[in-house]
């Protein structure tokens, strides 16, 4: 197995204030990795660094294995305008953007693929509903359907299970496991250690610096969790530094 992602002395941050410091580790190709850590530990920041939305202050992210269009990123929901009059099927079909671009037309097989993606997340029957009428969990299902269509080799998920019920979470974890079995590389920021322990083979624990990275059972120890909390408490001493990184 080769490395899909290599973080090399990576420092990421905002306004020259580091949120992730001197990260040196590798993500194996085809691995399913949870990123955990206290609030303000730099988890979301790290994903932004991988997408390229945030340029490193120092060091590098090597993503040699993937072209840009092979990376899919699901941010926390904040930027979607739920009042915008767009239907579920249209939102999901946006996942085909890489294939059809801004001006191309849907190919003959594509409507069936959109339907299949919607069925895979359990939203069949909701196609014509506007996104404003969906519950939080249904919305997250729709976004996962869009991710399915993006057909990405590297999938980045930022707190995909925040504020959704256990049934939805179980269904979406099945989708993630499907990707894993197809050999895709997945990085997910998560909060719930039980979910991580049950479903994610690899875990990276961050507290601005790397605390531990490896098989989940070896990373999620109480010593590591204690250390991560202490390291982050140290940084809450200067709130303007960590406050920025919390998002």
């Amino acid at each position: 197995m080769s490395a899909a992602l290599v973080f090399q002395n990576l420092t990421l941050g905002y306004d020259r204030l580091p949120a992730v410091q001197q990260l040196d580790t590798e993500i194996q190709e085809g691995s399913l990795t949870a990123i955990v850590g206290p609030n303000g530990a730099g988890k979301s920041t790290l994903l932004k660094g991988v997408t390229g939305a945030l340029a490193p202050l120092e060091g590098k992210v090597h993503i040699d294995g993937f072209r840009d269009e092979e990376i899919a990123y699901l941010p926390q929901q904040s930027e979607i305008d739920r009042s915008f009059p767009i239907s579920v099927v249209d939102l999901v079909a946006m996942g085909l953007w890489r294939e059809i671009g801004a001006f191309g037309r849907l190919g003959p097989a594509m409507p069936a693929r959109v339907d299949a993606a919607i069925a895979a997340v359990g939203l069949t029957g909701f196609e014509k509903r506007s996104i404003g009428s969906l519950s939080g969990g249904q919305m997250q299902r729709a976004l996962f359907a869009r991710l399915l269509l993006q057909n990405a080799q590297l999938v980045l998920l930022d707190e995909p299970f925040a504020a959704i019920d256990t049934k939805t979470m179980a269904d979406l974890i099945d989708v993630i496991k499907g990707w894993h079995s197809e050999g895709r590389t997945i990085l997910a920021v998560l909060h719930d250690y039980n979910t991580v322990g049950a479903h994610f083979p690899q875990t990276m624990m961050l507290a601005r610096e790397l605390v531990a990275h490896g098989p989940t059972a070896k990373v999620l120890t109480s010593e590591n969790q204690f250390r991560a909390r202490q390291m982050c408490e140290a940084c809450t001493g200067t709130p303007h530094v960590c406050g920025k990184t919390a998002a």
Partner: protein, 289 residues
């Protein structure tokens, strides 16, 4: 009776036919842009941009009098400068785009009023502010129709990225480099339609025909296509009724048209089936499936 009230003014007077054609052109071009402005929570941006084009039109006027070409080019340039400058400031500094737009349009507006009031007379100022829909000549009509056609065409090409830029800008940025292009092309459409509209309705009233029908349409339709169709319909009806009112009662035509659109908005607010006051408060007899 109906003939005298509705048809005769247009049958008998060429200037009324021209005014109607001009207003329909503005309606077709400006309302889809207005619908997107509303959907992007940028309704007041239209207003700001309308003020921003004033000094350009004024400088055009200064250079060559009440010349259609000079005032159009001037207005376009001023509008684009303000749009680009505020977008640029928002991207390179920490000031948000609405604040920088407000700053630039206020500067632009002050400059415009200064130029008009030192070098023109009040009648000119009224002309620029309130338009002359009853005095549209052939050149002006061709200009209005060209702007409307171009606007519809560009919007059709830009439709998919624009919808995504409104609904989920973060996703658009993650799959495409078109985000910035989309935003600025859209602002350019706003400016173009306002400059076209200002020949007919004046800089202030041109925003009205852009935003009011779109706001009214929100109570009649839910899909984007439905919103655009409803808005264009409201705009054209308002133009027709407004022109007739202005004809029969000797009212200034620009404000008459916008006020009729305002009445249309008020009626939609109350009677519109999509979230209107009555529909909202009626007990629902059955649940939607």
């Amino acid at each position: 009776m109906i003939w005298d009230l509705v048809v005769a003014p247009f049958a008998d007077f060429g200037f009324m036919r021209r005014a109607l054609l001009g207003c329909i052109a503005v309606s077709v071009g400006a309302t889809p842009v207005g619908v997107f402005l509303i959907l992007r929570h940028m309704s007041l941006t239209g207003d700001a941009m309308a003020h921003a084009i004033l000094p350009g039109a004024a400088i055009g006027y200064l250079v060559s009098g009440l010349s259609l070409g000079a005032m159009t080019v001037g207005g376009l340039i001023a509008g684009m400068i303000v749009a680009l400058a505020s977008g640029f400031v928002a991207r390179v500094t920490s000031l948000r785009e609405d604040a920088s737009l407000a700053a630039f349009y206020l500067i632009s507006l002050a400059l415009g009023v200064l130029i008009v009031s030192t070098h023109g007379n009040n009648i000119d100022l009224m002309h620029v502010l309130f338009g002359t829909v009853l005095a549209l000549d052939n050149t002006a009509l061709i200009l209005l129709c060209s702007f409307a056609s171009l606007s519809v065409l560009v919007l059709a090409v830009l439709f998919r990225p624009l919808v995504l830029e409104c609904a989920d800008p973060q996703f658009l940025r993650s799959v495409s480099k078109l985000s910035g292009v989309t935003h600025f092309t859209f602002l350019a459409l706003v400016v173009m339609n306002l400059v076209g509209g200002f020949h007919a309705l004046g800089t202030l009233m041109a925003v009205g025909i852009m935003i009011l029908p779109g706001a009214a349409a929100r109570f009649w339709a839910e899909s984007i296509g439905g919103l655009i169709a409803a808005a264009a319909l409201v705009a054209m009806l308002s133009s027709l009724i407004g022109l007739l009112l202005s004809f029969h009662y000797s009212l200034p035509s620009g404000p008459a048209i916008i006020l009729v659109a305002g009445v249309g908005y008020g009626l939609s607010l109350i009677f519109g089936p999509v979230g209107g006051a009555i529909a909202q408060n009626l007990p629902r007899r059955n649940f939607e499936t």
